[in-house]
């Protein structure tokens, strides 16, 4: 506290964020919550226009929606704040560039980082937690969707401001259900049921060619993470990295093997299409009707209903077994405010933008413009949002699913410095199991073993 108070005084006097503050954020290895947020007066006292460089990874419709929101913000703060959004490529590319910017001491004032980069951003010591701003202003965070808030919180303190959140769903081709004499109103609730239905929904033509697979999803580690969370299992130790720093992964469990083996068996049996790592390929297969059941995030719902020549149905993400007590983990990205190297006014301006972007009206516009799940629960009460949900009633599934999910360490998801590599390791394990090179248990055990040096190196680098 003393250190932060002193740092604060320095900030107020000089109006500059001293790089020395970073020692407070990174040294403790905690949530970085001891980094201080400057007072609101910093912005009021700033002369001229405070510019905020904002790095993001949004493309297409999402980028348009983001630009519209930022333009509205700039218009409302003309002469005072100017936010400059800069597209930096994919989430992975952005993190690589962000690391370079840290080395060059030229970080952007605000940066959008994917969910699995959360631990890294905390450990970077470059950011001021959203909680610090909220505490200083007495700004309530209660409107944030509890599970989304849970993901970006460590020790109950919000590290970054959630912005674009996705929720996984089970998508159904209801026409295929009807054709197979099945009721799409009774979607599969467990993996076993999903497997049974996949067998019934797989259709072959006269020559034995498969014209429709019962199931199909991209080889995307996120889905395995979701299923583990549904089962209430942890993905890494230390309560998914929530009560301390995770030191090893836990996905190489019997449950993990059960999930991966289930997936591989469906592919090997000819009941699931293997379209590889490209999510767009798996999406194309579902839209073309060659896959009857499919895992994807809410973000693609609108595209599906517009492109598909059949009625698109949605169901809650499946559980691994009937007694599962968990629920899905949210995905997407959050916004981080840079501390070191940025003036107090810049930090405050970035915080103003965060509050603006997550307010009900903006989140309603963002949700309806992109399909991301609103991070602010009040956004669902906005008239425009309710009209959208009425138009795409399939989205109701996601709302209900999120409301029914209790925030626990399992449903918070794993915080791990090398989480992107962990996800990649699981994807390789799925590929190995599908090809028959290894059993699921062996493939996951090997993935965990190969990942261990990276986890150790990361943790020792953080110190």
């Amino acid at each position: 506290m003393k250190k932060s108070a002193r740092a604060l005084a320095a900030l107020l006097v000089s109006g500059l964020a001293l790089t020395a503050c970073s020692s407070g954020g990174s040294g403790s290895g905690g949530s970085g919550s001891d980094a201080a947020a400057p007072a609101a007066s910093a912005l009021d006292q700033a002369s001229g226009v405070t510019t905020v460089e904002f790095w993001h990874s949004m493309t297409g419709k999402n980028a348009e929606a983001l630009t519209a929101l930022v333009d509205a913000f700039n218009a409302a703060h003309r002469g005072k704040i100017e936010v400059k959004p800069v597209f930096q490529g994919s989430y992975d590319d952005l993190v690589a560039k962000y690391k370079a910017s840290v080395q060059q001491k030229a970080t952007p004032a605000l940066v959008q980082v994917y969910d699995i980069g959360t631990r890294f951003m905390i450990d970077s010591g470059q950011t001021v937690p959203a909680q610090a701003f909220a505490d200083r202003d007495g700004y309530p965070l209660d409107d944030l969707q509890p599970n989304i808030r849970n993901y970006y919180s460590v020790g109950g303190r919000l590290a970054s401001m959630p912005f674009n959140s996705s929720v996984p769903l089970l998508y159904l081709n209801t026409d295929a259900f009807a054709e197979a004499g099945l009721d799409p109103a009774k979607p599969p609730a467990t993996l076993a049921e999903l497997g049974d239905l996949a067998r019934k929904l797989t259709k072959k033509d006269g020559s034995g060619q498969t014209v429709r697979y019962g199931f199909g999803a991209a080889v995307y580690g996120w889905f395995v993470e979701e299923l583990l969370a549904e089962s209430g299992s942890l993905y890494c130790d230390a309560d998914n990295g929530r009560t301390g720093k995770a030191s090893k992964v836990a996905f190489d469990s019997a449950k993990g093997a059960e999930i991966v083996q289930w997936w591989a068996d469906l592919v090997k049996g000819g009941y699931a299409a293997n379209t590889g790592w490209q999510t767009t390929d798996a999406q194309a297969a579902f839209k073309a009707g060659t896959v009857a059941m499919h895992l994807e995030s809410t973000g693609v719902l609108r595209g599906y209903t517009e492109a598909a020549k059949f009625t698109v149905g949605t169901a809650p993400f499946p559980r691994t077994a009937a007694g599962d007590q968990g629920g899905p983990v949210i995905g997407g990205a959050s916004l981080w405010i840079s501390g070191p190297g940025h003036s107090a006014a810049q930090q405050r301006a970035a915080w103003e933008l965060e509050k603006f972007l997550t307010a009900p009206d903006q989140q309603a516009a963002w949700h309806t413009g992109t399909g991301y799940f609103p991070v602010n629960t009040k956004a669902l009460d906005v008239a425009a949002d309710q009209q959208w949900v009425a138009k795409y009633p399939q989205f109701k599934t996601a709302i209900d699913q999120m409301a029914a999910t209790k925030p626990t360490p399992a449903t918070a998801g794993c915080l791990l410095g090398v989480m992107p590599q962990a996800r990649k390791g699981v994807e390789t394990a799925v590929e190995q199991t599908v090809s028959g090179a290894k059993s699921a248990q062996q493939a996951l055990a090997d993935a965990a073993k190969e990942l261990q040096p990276a986890i150790d190196a990361y943790n020792s680098a953080v110190g």
């Binding site: 992975d92 690391k99 080395q103 060619q209 379209t275 590889g276 790592w277 390929d281 090809s435 990276a454």
Partner: protein, 303 residues
């Protein structure tokens, strides 16, 4: 002039040297900036561990190299790289040679065909790779569409670890074909007409002419192509990045792609390991080129 005093010669020579250096300076600067410095930096990074942001943190000596030697994953990477070179250089050079020899026949529209075969040269790797990803697409791809017409099962061109490397290699062969055809066409064009005519007068034609006259005289072009194609194959990146990202299960993870993955992909910034791999790549390229010059070039007949 012959009576000019000797001391005057010195400044003149210096002036000449100075002029030579002035002319050389731009290329020396470029070489130092873009070759020597990065190489030195790579060596330096390969001997250091990294902090969270990829900056060198402490000296570790040969550790990264020792880790690579002990790594099964790295041995797989080297094997994949060797296979990729084999699958791209051999069909790429032989295919272009066959096409160029066939084009020697005076058939109608040969100019059009020659342009057509040289056309892949005009495509960038990225755009050609995107086109191939459409061909190979598991669900809506052209190739599986054709196969299903023949009532043959869908093939996981890029999603099955048995076929992925071959599929990427096939795409690469096509991409390189244009350049290879151009080089060999130029080579054939430079063969003196009198030699070919003399051979024809002696009754040689078709395969016999190709085997005994054209191909041996194409030696320098073929040798050049083999060396350049090998280096190109060792450095291929774009098609792997667009088509497979090194997967599935590492089936298309070549040395260059592995360097990229360690340094930049999946939030990794292990520049130490990546740099060590880059040094290994440099050694492999040098060794291949030296070997080719040592073994192949002896057999090349320079007309």
């Amino acid at each position: 002039m012959p009576t000019a005093p000797p001391p005057a010669a010195r400044p003149r020579r210096l002036g000449e040297h100075g002029l030579a250096w002035a002319f050389l300076l731009p290329s020396v600067v470029v070489l130092v900036l873009f070759v020597a410095y990065p190489l030195g930096r790579t060596l330096y990074l390969s001997a250091h561990a990294n902090d969270l942001f990829g900056a060198p943190s402490r000296y570790v000596g040969w550790k990264h190299y020792a880790d690579l030697l002990a790594s099964a994953e790295f041995r797989d990477t080297l094997l994949t790289t060797a296979l990729f070179v084999l699958f791209t250089v051999v069909p790429g050079v032989l295919g272009a040679l066959a096409l160029v020899l066939l084009l020697e026949n005076r058939i109608r529209g040969v100019r059009l065909l020659r342009s057509a075969f040289a056309l892949p040269f005009a495509f960038s790797v990225a755009s050609a790779s995107v086109v191939f990803s459409v061909f190979y697409n598991p669900a809506s791809g052209v190739l599986n569409g054709l196969l299903s017409r023949l009532h043959l099962g869908p093939v996981g061109w890029l999603t099955d670890s048995r076929y992925a490397l071959l599929s990427v290699a096939a795409a690469t062969v096509w991409m390189n074909l244009g350049y290879n055809v151009l080089v060999l066409s130029a080579g054939i064009g430079s063969i003196p007409d009198e030699i070919t005519e003399a051979a024809r007068l002696d009754g040689a034609s078709g395969l016999r002419l190709a085997r005994s006259v054209t191909v041996p005289l194409l030696g320098p072009s073929l040798f050049f192509l083999v060396v350049v194609s090998t280096v190109n194959a060792l450095q291929s990146f774009g098609q792997i990045h667009v088509l497979t990202r090194g997967g599935p299960d590492g089936a298309t993870r070549t040395l260059v792609y592995s360097v990229y993955q360690k340094a930049f992909a999946y939030g990794s910034s292990d520049f130490g390991t990546a740099s060590a791999q880059a040094v290994v790549l440099l050694v492999v390229v040098l060794a291949c080129t030296a070997l080719q010059f040592g073994v192949l070039e002896r057999k090349v007949h320079y007309a």
